[in-house]
């Protein structure tokens, strides 16, 4: 066992936990500012979108399979299908596209 690696892991874990814990534990009062409340309301959507685009297009190692998977996810999500169905269908679409690509080239 490499003690040095565990030291790094411990430091990483401590920093990451403090980042998560402080805002979660300290802010107990309801926030009065309407602007801040509205901003906090929009943050999850902005964050999720920024995390997804453009990263999703590089997520399968192939732009075409990823694009097909993304379109599948957007369409199914638009029709309100459950999360797990959308997520796995995106993956299945990417997989099937990957199988088809060698046939067309």
């Amino acid at each position: 066992m490499n003690i040095n690696v565990w030291l790094y892991i411990a430091v990483m874990a401590a920093v990451t936990y403090i980042i998560r814990m402080v805002p979660f534990t300290v802010f107990r009062r309801k926030i009065k500012s309407r602007f801040v409340n509205d901003m906090l309301y929009y943050i999850p959507y902005a964050v999720l979108s920024a995390m997804t685009i453009p990263a999703v297009f590089f997520s399968t190692g192939d732009l075409i399979t990823a694009a097909v998977g993304t379109v599948a996810a957007v369409v199914l999500a638009y029709f309100g299908l459950p999360l797990i169905v959308v997520a796995l269908s995106a993956s299945a679409a990417a997989y099937l596209t990957g199988l088809l690509i060698p046939l067309t080239s």
């Binding site: 892991i9 901003m39 906090l40 990263a55």
Partner: protein
């Protein structure tokens, strides 16, 4: 009540479990290739529960980087969690006492945050614990499988699994975007901004970019699309 909420959290966490299993599988492979043992890789997953932060961490360890560099990298990549913690802390049930907050803060990941903030009403500690438990099992199990047996899945399958978590994100943001123009604007502007940063300002790391986009776009939308008093407060999130 506790067991009912716990079970609900476990069930809601199943997509996260599956997504984490595939993503951490890749992390496990990467960690072992970078010189970590399977045990160290799983330990890192268990104590950190963060994809981008761990990927950067493994890179720093492999490159012999300093502890200071490690701290700065984790701060930059993971600071987005503080926004999520702040946002989700508004949705916590009254039963969320300080010890529960200290415990549940461990599990503040992008995906757990996304699911929890999409819940109607408030979230309870045991709901969070159920979701965190199943997610953590998936994250650590996937890391172990990737580290121990990197070749059990054909490449085509593991490649295709790389999109699972993003598919889940898409499924979370699209339905409320149909209902609220403000959310639609947040989603579209954030996507455009993140893409612009990725291509035009490539020196900005992914974690930092997400933070910049999240704060600035949410501020713009709060100004352009203020929410009416009647819907303000407890409901937060419409997924």
């Amino acid at each position: 009540m506790k067991s009912k909420h716990f079970l609900k959290g476990l069930i809601h966490g199943i997509p996260i479990f599956l997504g984490y299993l595939s993503v951490s599988f890749g992390f496990g492979i990467m960690a072992v290739r970078s010189g970590l043992s399977a045990f160290e890789a799983v330990g890192m997953s268990l104590f950190n529960l963060t994809s981008a932060g761990q990927a950067a961490g493994v890179g720093i360890i492999a490159a012999g980087g300093s502890i200071t560099e490690m701290i700065l990298a984790q701060l930059t990549i993971n600071i987005r969690y503080s926004l999520m913690s702040l946002s989700l802390s508004r949705k916590l049930d009254k039963s969320f006492t300080t010890p529960h907050r200290l415990a549940a803060a461990y599990g503040m990941t992008d995906e757990i945050f996304a699911l929890a903030s999409g819940q109607p009403g408030t979230v309870t500690p045991w709901y969070m614990y159920g979701m965190i438990l199943i997610s953590t099992i998936g994250w650590c199990l996937g890391t172990f499988l990737g580290a121990a047996a990197g070749s059990i899945l054909p490449a085509e399958v593991s490649d295709a699994l790389g999109i699972v978590l993003y598919g889940m994100f898409i499924a979370i943001v699209i339905p409320p975007s149909k209902k609220e123009r403000g959310i639609l604007a947040a989603v579209l502007i954030a996507a455009a901004m993140s893409t612009a940063i990725y291509f035009l300002l490539p020196f900005i790391s992914g974690g930092f970019s997400v933070m910049i986009c999240g704060v600035s776009v949410a501020a713009v939308c709060a100004l352009l699309f203020p929410r009416s008093e009647s819907t303000d407060g407890e409901d937060g999130g419409a997924a």
